[in-house]
């Protein structure tokens, strides 16, 4: 029988300092950047650049041979806690992406935050974020992943609330933090279930023991040795599903899935480069990354939940993105929708496709956010010395294609990738997901076609809101001069400088297909080759049907159909957008006067299915009512009881004081008085007369002799 302590026995490597460097460099940046004043952007950018180099070096060394490092942390009773690092292709890819996006965002922010007084603090927070994110990526121990998971939450909170002077920003930071906490409650529950069963949170140990566990009479049983003692862990089989779903809750919070996704649109209160780094490319993807890490531990039921949540999220967010005025809100809902795709992919077992979409999305969505950032930044310059307006509102934009050509280029390329049109990265990854989804729905049948239908409808919607955005921002007339009545404004608007345009363009270039392989078939991409879908490790009777077991022919048969349908649907979305929002179209003309969308569907879309109102009017009210009831109980029942007890005490105290004064003190005084009397008696021997003294002594001696001898 296998011994748990053997699985988690320490493993060392000469590369430990390099891995630690990946963690230490960003936290060093966090610790020092705050003191750098004006030099802060360059200092922190240089540190992140060197971190990227370290990540690249490690990637070249360990790409083909994964590295495991493990050491003992502490021991609690019989249970050995360890720390462990695991560098496989997934971790290496993620660390490259995180550092790469972080570097470009640092560069972009150098210009974007140039005039902000608290710039050093901003760059310090970015360092903290990178550190936390690297922790999630590098550690192979669920406990450490959880610790860094929380640190990521903290840095996200700090960055959303960076402009905390704005009430809305601090509220948004609170909201993000609290909703993430709700998800983390699930995460920690999952950890407890796994620890109860396996006595370790090391992923290697959990996986090894998961292989050995069996379902016996509906019980989830695992038998192993721990330090020479035999351990038989057994619990109801439903805990296996529950554990998977509980861990998924963590991802629901962090990756903004239904029903906790409402924090992400509000999180756009943070600086736009932060939105690009954290709320598009990396942090929100951490949930998907975590799902990939625990993918093999999920059983069929948990995976179904994951798939359904993903599909619902993707569809709901796509609907919400249709009618927003704020450009960042559109991108935020789009991000939620795309994350829904990734989660859906994980749920159907399309591990490689989901991670592929994570990577492509990281680039094109970061590109979109940075481009939007340039627009906002350049429009913001127009506010100087003039009237105030909201530079994020698409109603003030229009026709920017001529003024901001580079931004237009970057934005359109990234949009095409988002819409999933051939030749762009999004096409490859989205098609891979849709293909696996179609196969999965065919296997499952029945109601499981609904996620497929939702996912395909989302394709139309994505293309529609993407091109609606492009038409409203870059085509037609520049609407701002008309609104403010200032004709000189168009001449003042300029393209952003190289600090901001270069990162955007780099992301745009990475949104083409070619960085991922010169192919239109996702299966031929190197990413799909590198990140192979693993086999499920849960007991057979609970495991989902793995897509690896499906014959190749099934995929080939569906491939063309799915390809063609998705391209047609995307084009349909594009066409509808052109019809409704091309310059001079009816919707485009009235757009500027609208306060909010008309009609029931428009309202549902604009208010994101009234989810916020639901929370605020029902859940929040219920919680407040409950807390008021508890406060009442506390004040009128508990406090009263305590007060009564206190009064009773005072009464008893009076009685005891009387007793104390009369009897106890009396006794003490009596003792003192009698002791004193005895003292006077004994002292009286001591007269000054020597003859008397000697006499007394002899009397004593004789008395004693008489007493004892006679």
């Amino acid at each position: 029988m296998i011994d748990l302590l053997d699985i988690i026995s320490p493993q060392s490597s000469a590369y430990l300092p390099w891995i630690l460097a990946l963690l230490i460099l960003p936290i060093f940046s966090f610790a020092t950047t705050g003191f750098m004043k004006g030099k802060a952007p360059y200092w922190s950018s240089a540190i992140i650049a060197s971190n990227l180099l370290v990540a690249a070096y490690l990637a070249t060394v360990f790409w083909n041979e994964p590295l495991t490092i493990r050491g003992n942390w502490f021991k609690l009773g019989e249970n050995q806690f360890t720390y462990s690092f695991y560098l496989d292709k997934l971790a290496l890819t993620m660390s490259l992406i995180v550092n790469f996006v972080a570097l470009l965002v640092h560069i972009f922010s150098t210009e974007y935050m140039r005039t902000d007084a608290n710039k050093p603090r901003y760059f310090a927070y970015l360092g903290l974020f990178t550190f936390s994110m690297m922790g999630i990526v590098l550690f192979n121990d669920l406990l450490f992943i959880f610790i860094f998971w929380e640190l990521v939450g903290v840095s996200s909170y700090l960055l959303i609330g960076f402009w905390f002077q704005k009430k809305s920003a601090s509220l948004a930071a609170n909201k993000a933090f609290i909703l993430n906490r709700i998800g983390d409650l699930g995460f920690i529950t999952g950890l407890m279930i796994l620890f109860t069963q396996f006595h370790s949170l090391d992923l290697d140990a959990v996986k090894s023991l998961m292989i050995m566990s069996e379902i016996e009479d509906g019980n989830w049983v695992v038998n192993f040795m721990q330090g020479g003692k035999e351990v038989i862990s057994s619990m109801d089989g439903r805990w296996l599903s529950a554990g998977g779903i509980a861990l998924f809750c963590g991802a629901v919070g962090k990756s903004a899935q239904f029903p906790l996704q409402v924090w992400l649109p509000d999180a756009m209160e943070g600086p736009t480069p932060v939105s690009a780094l954290i709320h598009a490319a990396t942090m929100v993807a951490a949930g998907v990354y975590m799902l990939a890490r625990i993918f093999v531990l999920l059983d069929a039921q948990a995976l179904e939940v994951v798939a359904i949540v993903g599909a619902v999220t993707a569809f709901m967010a796509a609907i919400a993105a249709l009618s927003q005025f704020d450009i960042k809100k559109v991108l935020a809902y789009s991000t939620i929708s795309q994350l829904g795709y990734m989660v859906l992919a994980m749920g159907v077992g399309a591990y490689s496709a989901g991670l592929f979409h994570l990577i492509t999305h990281a680039f094109f969505k970061a590109g979109l956010f940075l481009s939007a950032g340039i627009i906002i930044h350049q429009l913001h310059h127009l506010e100087k010395g003039g009237k105030k307006f909201d530079p994020q509102d698409m109603r003030v934009m229009g026709g920017l294609r001529r003024k901001l050509p580079v931004t237009f280029f970057a934005f359109v390329i990234c949009s095409l990738a988002l819409a999933g049109l051939p030749g762009f990265s999004g096409f490859l990854s989205k098609d891979a997901i849709l293909l696996d989804l179609a196969v999965w729905a065919d296997i499952k049948g029945g109601g499981f076609y609904i996620p497929e239908v939702l996912a395909f409808m989302t394709v139309v919607l994505t293309a529609f809101y993407t091109f609606r955005m492009i038409y409203l921002v870059f085509f037609g007339e520049f609407r701002l001069p008309k609104i403010l009545g200032d004709a000189s404004l168009p001449n003042k608007l300029k393209e952003g400088n190289l600090w901001v345009t270069v990162p955007a363009v780099i992301f745009a270039l990475l949104s083409f297909t070619f960085p991922f392989g010169f192919t239109l078939n996702a299966d031929h991409s190197w990413v799909m080759e590198a990140l192979k879908t693993p086999m499920y490790l849960v007991p057979e009777s609970y495991a989902a049907t793995s897509l690896l077991d499906v014959p190749e022919e099934t995929f080939h048969g569906l491939h063309k159909t799915v390809n063609i349908v998705s391209i047609l649907l995307a084009l349909a979305g594009l066409f509808i957008a052109w019809l409704s929002y091309k310059p001079g179209a009816k919707l485009e003309k009235t757009f500027i006067e609208r306060r909010e969308p008309v009609g029931v569907l428009g309202q549902i879309s604009f208010y994101h299915w009234y989810q916020n109102s639901l929370y605020q009017n029902i859940f929040l009210k219920a919680i407040l009512a409950k807390s008021r009831a508890l406060a009442w109980f506390d004040q009128y029942v508990l406090d009263e009881a305590v007060n009564l007890l206190a009064k009773l005490n005072v009464v008893i105290a009076h009685v005891t004081r009387w007793f104390d004064q009369v009897f106890v003190d009396g006794l003490v005084n009596l003792t003192a008085a009698s002791v004193g009397k005895v003292g006077q008696l004994t002292r009286s021997i001591q007269s000054g007369n020597i003859q008397a003294q000697i006499l007394v002594t002899f009397i004593f001696l004789l008395t004693l002799i008489l007493l004892l001898v006679v």
Binding site: Q686, I690, Q693, V696, F700, L704, L708
Partner: protein, 504 residues
């Protein structure tokens, strides 16, 4: 005839040999005598400004003695009879001698630090000769195993003590010395009379010989009881124990502080040692030691503690306190088992440290105010906070409360007494135990009075100057620190005691 003569000659030869061998073992006593002579000669040769020289000679002789004794200390030395059974050297005696030397050395340091006493002590040789004489007597007391030797050594201590009390100007001193002398003479007379009875009963003065022990066992109980009790009286006089304690308050009050420090420690501990020796050679007789000592202990601690309650003078208070402590030591002695010996020695040494510290610190206050009356302590806690806190610690230790070693001493003592009661079932031991506990409570009243006056009362004299660093603080800390140390790590000293081979 020739054979007898030869035998005698052989016996004489052996005796001579034993004498010459014995001299080597007496090096501490010889050192003392040499020191005494040096001081005397220095005083005779030089005319003016003799203080520094006399102080240097005496302090360096005692320091040398202390260091040499510590270095040559062997815990498990076999007891050795010297000078035809007059003297027995043992490890226990050596340990006590170290304690005596330490006390005497500290008394000299105290004298040197005090303006008032430095002049008296070091301007002529009288004081130091008496002090060295006292020390020599005490050394010999721990070594005596012969009734004659015991008597002589006790007398050496006594006569030195009378001199130390009476030297210097002052009517009160002379009166105290005279009273002391008369009282001591009476006690000596009783002891000597008792000794002559013992000699009459056994035909031997050497208490370690078989003849002595056989004779004692054969004696009629009534006669034996009275004889031993009379000898005991002399020892009790030196111990300052009930009922021969009456001299001590007057003597303590009028003698200078360094002298009182020596009085309160050296003769007492030497007497305890003599008592051990007397008990060990009369253990098997009909004399009921437990009964006698039990009553003496109960009487001593009661009288000492209760009388101390009414004192208004720190020195008198400490005199009564030392009567009580002597009684506590007696309750350890009366157990006469190994545990009893160890707790008594432990108690004796903690008492030594506590008393040194108490007298030293009170002298510091005396130097500041010129008086040792309780009223003069009022409010000094504010102007001399550090010294006052040190004194508080010492008083807590004297009472026997944690966290100081006085607590361990009392704890070990009472545990041993209770165990003694459990194992023998002797009622008197139980009574000693009960009285000991009650008296400990009583002692809190008067010990804590000085700190109470220091911290909670305001004084008449206004000393505005805050206390800066003084050397006495260092010395005081040096004395108080072992009290803490031995509280937390009392096992260090207990281990040492365990390794010592106590043979009397």
């Amino acid at each position: 005839m020739v054979g007898a003569a030869m035998q005698m000659a052989d016996g004489l030869k052996e005796q001579l040999q034993s004498l010459t061998e014995g001299v080597a073992f007496l090096w501490p006593e010889i050192t003392l005598v040499v020191g005494l002579l040096l001081v005397l000669l220095f005083d005779l040769i030089f005319q003016n400004k003799k203080e520094v020289g006399i102080a240097a000679i005496s302090i360096s002789v005692l320091s040398f003695l202390l260091v040499a004794q510590c270095l040559s200390f062997v815990p498990n030395l076999e007891a050795k009879d010297l000078f035809v059974g007059l003297i027995t050297v043992s490890s226990g005696a050596n340990l006590f001698k170290i304690g005596f030397t330490l006390t005497a050395l500290f008394a000299l340091i105290m004298a040197a630090q005090s303006k008032k006493y430095a002049q008296q002590y070091f301007s002529s040789s009288e004081w130091l000769v008496s002090l060295f004489g006292l020390l020599l007597g005490a050394f010999l007391m721990t070594a005596s195993s012969n009734l004659l030797m015991i008597y002589v050594s006790i007398e050496v201590v006594s006569i030195s003590s009378y001199l130390l009390t009476g030297l210097g100007k002052g009517l009160k001193k002379s009166e105290a010395a005279l009273k002391y002398l008369l009282y001591g003479a009476a006690a000596s007379a009783v002891m000597l009379y008792g000794m002559s009875w013992l000699y009459g009963l056994t035909g031997s003065l050497d208490i370690n010989t078989d003849t002595f022990i056989v004779g004692m066992n054969a004696a009629q109980p009534f006669t034996l009881n009275i004889a031993i009790f009379m000898v005991l009286a002399g020892v009790l006089f030196k111990l300052g124990a009930f009922p021969l304690h009456i001299w001590s308050p007057d003597v303590y009050e009028s003698a200078p502080m360094p002298t009182v420090t020596v009085f309160s420690i050296v003769p007492k501990l030497a007497a305890v040692f003599v008592l051990f020796r007397l008990i060990s050679s009369t253990e098997t007789t009909d004399f009921n030691w437990q009964q006698w000592l039990g009553i003496l202990a109960i009487g001593g601690m009661t009288i000492g503690n209760f009388s101390a309650l009414w004192q208004r003078n720190a020195k008198r208070m400490l005199a009564y306190s030392s009567i009580a402590h002597a009684a506590f030591m007696l309750s350890g002695v009366l157990l006469f088992n190994r545990a009893g010996i160890e707790v008594t020695v432990f108690y004796a040494f903690i008492y030594l440290i506590m008393n040194l510290a108490a007298f030293y610190l009170i002298q510091v206050f005396e130097n500041a105010t010129g008086s040792v009356n309780f009223d003069s302590f009022r409010g000094l806690g504010k102007t001399m906070p550090y010294t006052a806190i040190l004194l508080l610690v010492v008083m807590i230790s004297l009472t026997g409360l944690p966290p100081v070693a006085g607590f361990n001493a009392k704890l070990f003592l009472f545990s041993a007494v209770y165990e003694g009661y459990v194992s023998t079932g002797d009622q008197i031991i139980l009574w000693v135990f009960i009285f000991g506990l009650l008296n400990t409570v009583v002692s809190l009243f008067y010990y804590i009075r000085i700190p109470y006056l220091l911290f909670f009362k305001t004084g008449d004299q206004i000393i505005t100057k805050q206390e800066g660093f003084r050397w006495h603080m260092a010395w005081g800390t040096f004395l108080v620190l072992p009290l803490f140390l031995l509280f937390f790590r009392s096992d260090w000293f207990v281990d040492l005691l365990n390794s010592i081979n106590f043979v009397f």
